[in-house]
């Protein structure tokens, strides 16, 4: 799709790495379990105890990351608030469901239901900011975040907005972890999450979670992280994905050789990763193949963390060694091609450029 340049001017991230910090990208911690939870910020710094009790964890995380991204950007109020989430407020959904089944539809409390709808993340951010502008939520499996990003890109292209707060947010509850484990999402054992993606090609990955917010703008400023030059999203492509990628790159007046990093959604799951390694081989991108799920784990909106890694590394001028297939740090990267797929059915492509300042 043809988009206007979009600048990433602010990022807020809460994940299994240090919250609201780029440390997680450049000096990540490793874990030895297949289910890793977020490192929480001190909620008391952000909410009164009464408010903190009332709103659920995923909403708290998202409000904090939203505000962080906004404050970094220097823009006071976004023209649009758009969230992508694979499961929404699953913790509240499960609490309501559990209580409804257990108590045979009696003695139910409304609070869990109120927060169970997926759009409560976007709307609670809006309520917190008192922002009455465009507001939307997308739930579409492993490309939920990219769906939100496309929505923003279309509004930018039509000049309906000059800024947008786009968030990817998902939580992994113990119960949902169990459910997904039954259908092969998770590896049985994980010894070193940081090395997991590079070294392991088994069935399943390790689970993470997170809320990652981006303040996007049509204007560059002195703090801009990176530029989203192009993006695309497609379902069950009828031509080989390699061809789609070549067309995508060429449409930007670039050649495959111009791509410095091929950032992928490799997760350590053999079936998932083969899609990327094949492309790496076929398009001569093997040496440039990189990943990020070793830092953040697998969750439906982990692509938001991938965008964070791409944008933060372009700003810093260093692409970290632990995210590269060959384990060698890269400097002076200009173009990053970010490719994510879900079950080889849904594919997203994002081309990021270093800002020229």
């Amino acid at each position: 799709m043809i988009i206007n340049p979009i600048y990433i001017n602010g990022i807020g991230s809460i994940s299994i790495q240090k919250p609201l910090s780029e440390d997680g990208i450049f000096n990540p911690v490793s874990y030895d379990t297949p289910r890793v939870s977020c490192i929480e910020p001190n909620y008391r710094d952000f909410f009164t105890p009464a408010v903190s009790r009332r709103i659920s964890k995923i909403i708290k995380r998202s409000i904090i990351t939203a505000k962080h991204a906004i404050s970094e950007s220097g823009i006071e109020m976004p023209d649009a608030i758009i969230t992508g989430t694979g499961l929404g407020c699953i913790e509240d959904t499960e609490k309501f469901l559990d209580s409804m089944i257990r108590n045979e539809e009696k003695f139910l409390k409304p609070s869990f239901f109120i927060q169970s709808t997926h759009n409560s993340i976007s709307s609670q951010i809006a309520i917190n900011l008192d922002c009455k502008s465009y507001n939307n939520t997308y739930i579409h499996r492993g490309v939920s975040f990219e769906n939100a990003l496309v929505d923003a890109a279309l509004l930018f292209k039509q000049k309906k907005i000059d800024s947008a707060l786009v968030t990817g947010s998902d939580q992994m509850t113990p119960n949902y972890f169990t459910l997904l484990k039954r259908i092969g999402y998770w590896a049985d054992t994980v010894n070193d999450t940081l090395q997991f993606v590079r070294n392991t090609k088994t069935k399943g990955s390790f689970s993470g979670e997170g809320s990652i917010s981006f303040m996007l703008s049509s204007q560059q400023n002195k703090n801009s992280y990176a530029l989203i030059k192009a993006m695309d999203l497609f379902y069950k492509p009828t031509v080989p994905i390699e061809q789609k990628i070549e067309q995508f790159i060429q449409a930007q007046g670039l050649n495959i050789e111009d791509i410095d990093i091929y950032l992928t959604g490799m997760s350590g799951d053999a079936q998932n990763d083969k899609v990327y390694t094949d492309i790496g081989k076929n398009l001569f991108l093997s040496e440039k193949t990189a990943f990020y799920k070793n830092i953040c784990g697998e969750f439906y909106t982990s692509a938001a963390y991938g965008l964070n890694v791409a944008a933060s590394s372009l700003k810093k001028g260093i692409f970290p060694a632990h995210c590269l297939q060959d384990g060698k740090e890269r400097k002076n990267t200009t173009h990053i091609l970010f490719h994510n797929h879900f079950k080889n059915k849904d594919h997203s492509l994002i081309l990021l450029n270093k800002c020229s300042n």
Binding site: M1, I2, I81, G86, G88, F96, L97, M100, I101, E104, E105, K106, L108, K109, P110, F113, I114, Q115, T117, H118, N119, S120, S122, S123, Q124, A126, I127, L129, C131, K132, S133, Y134, N135, N136, T137, Y138, I139, H140, R141, V143, S144, N147, V150, D151, L154, L155, K157, Q158, K160, T178, L179, L180, R182, I183, F234, Y235, K236, T238, K345, D346
Partner: protein, 403 residues
């Protein structure tokens, strides 16, 4: 957000709700003011609350769709498939890859209807594993896309009761920006114990038939439905030699930013959404012949929406009615159910009456249009407001009046 976009048109519609399987049956029910609200049959619940269910069982729908017994299906996706099939048939759309076609399905419950049956099994054994991945809303959309094939873009907006209305916005933007040629947009939602109980705990379900815009209104009757429209621009309409049914003239999307489940007393979000829909349509309030209100029948919604209507249209607004006493509140599907009703109103020049009305709301200067009225209808504004203040208004225009 006031830039004018290129126009998109509706070339096909499909609907399945308590007032009919298909557009023809729906029109007859509207004409005869035949409500679909009755007793709950398809879910096993302790609550005896008036609700509007689709008459068909899952097995009957599978038969209609030629889906073999034993396939993994959810009621939401079955209803959606029936509605999409009708919409693409009317639009003469063959999904053969000639055009890039998007499927945008607004839903919130997704596969909850199975999850609420099997949740403890999911946790304890492998008996129903195949339904685990049917839980998320995106899987529902993909199941519809895969049934038909030939879909190159899928998306699942979820903004509670305005989800399907937001599908129209994404559809228009994807077409305008050349991402796809054609978009099948709408929403689907079956009744679940989960949201029936959820709405019950909020004490916003009426145990009698709902009475939108009535002083005595006491809440919602839930319903289930799927409705889809085929959207496309002039380019493919000409190329495919199909007849547009109506034009999507404009839209407004705003957030009330007031409360997770209540609307602001002044209807701020509703006001912005309606105002923006008129502006993007390049229309004046006086151009609107009919407002298909969100009109859920809750004390809060109808007063808040009513005040916003007065702010936009003055004390004497155009014809306004809620069709929820007919269809029930079909939650995520409502935006498209009511889009179909709006287009039927345009093309048949009638205003569907607001059933069950007797007393005007004391704090509002207007009352709804009570009975069906035959009159020329050129522009209809349709409101869909969701929890979280996700407010969307769409304007549909008759083809003769469309410029």
């Amino acid at each position: 957000m006031s830039e004018q976009s290129e126009s998109v048109f509706i070339t096909g519609m499909g609907i399945i709700s308590a007032i009919g399987i298909g557009v023809d049956e729906t029109l007859i029910s509207l004409r005869e003011s035949k409500s679909g609200i009755g007793k709950i049959n398809h879910i096993d619940t302790i609550h005896d609350l008036p609700s509007a269910e689709v008459s068909l069982t899952d097995n009957q729908m599978m038969e209609i769709l030629n889906i073999e017994a034993g396939q993994i299906v959810t009621r939401t996706s079955l209803m959606a498939k029936i509605a999409v099939k009708e919409a693409i048939t009317q639009a003469k759309l063959t999904l053969d890859g000639k055009f890039r076609v998007a499927l945008i399905n607004g839903t919130t419950v997704g596969g909850m209807e199975k999850s609420e049956l099997y949740y403890f099994d999911f946790l304890e054994n492998d008996k129903y594993n195949e339904y685990i991945e049917a839980h998320d809303c995106g899987s529902c959309t993909e199941s519809i896309a895969d049934y038909f094939g030939g879909i190159s873009y899928v998306s699942t907006p979820s903004t509670a009761c305005s989800s399907a209305a937001n599908a129209f916005i994404l559809g228009q933007n994807l077409i305008n920006e050349g991402v796809v040629d054609i978009a099948i947009v709408g929403g689907s939602e079956c009744l679940t114990k989960f949201h029936l109980n959820g709405f019950k705990t909020l004490m916003i379900l009426d145990d009698k038939v709902c009475r939108p815009f009535d002083e005595t209104r006491a809440g919602i009757n839930l319903g289930e439905a799927a409705a889809f429209c085929v959207l496309e621009a002039k380019k493919t309409i000409d190329k495919r030699a199909v007849k547009p049914l109506a034009k999507l003239s404009g839209y407004g999307n705003a957030c009330d930013a007031y409360h997770q489940t209540a609307s602001s007393p002044e209807g701020n979000g509703a006001f912005i959404a309606m105002d923006m829909a008129l502006k993007t349509s390049n229309l004046q309030p006086t151009d609107i012949d009919y407002i298909n209100a969100h009109g859920t029948g809750t004390p809060n919604n109808d007063e808040s929406e009513g005040r916003a209507v007065v702010r936009v249209f003055g004390d004497n607004p155009p014809h306004i009615s809620s069709t929820k006493p007919l269809t029930g509140h079909t939650t995520s599907a409502a935006g498209c159910v009511e889009a179909v009703i709006s287009i039927l109103s345009l093309n048949n020049n009638f205003i569907p009456g607001n059933l069950n009305f007797s007393q005007q709301i004391k704090t509002l200067p207007f009352k709804p249009t009570e009975i069906n009225i035959e009159t020329e209808v050129n522009h209809v504004l349709s409101n869909s407001f969701g929890f979280g203040g996700n407010n969307t208004s769409l304007v549909f225009s008759k083809i003769e009046s469309a410029t």
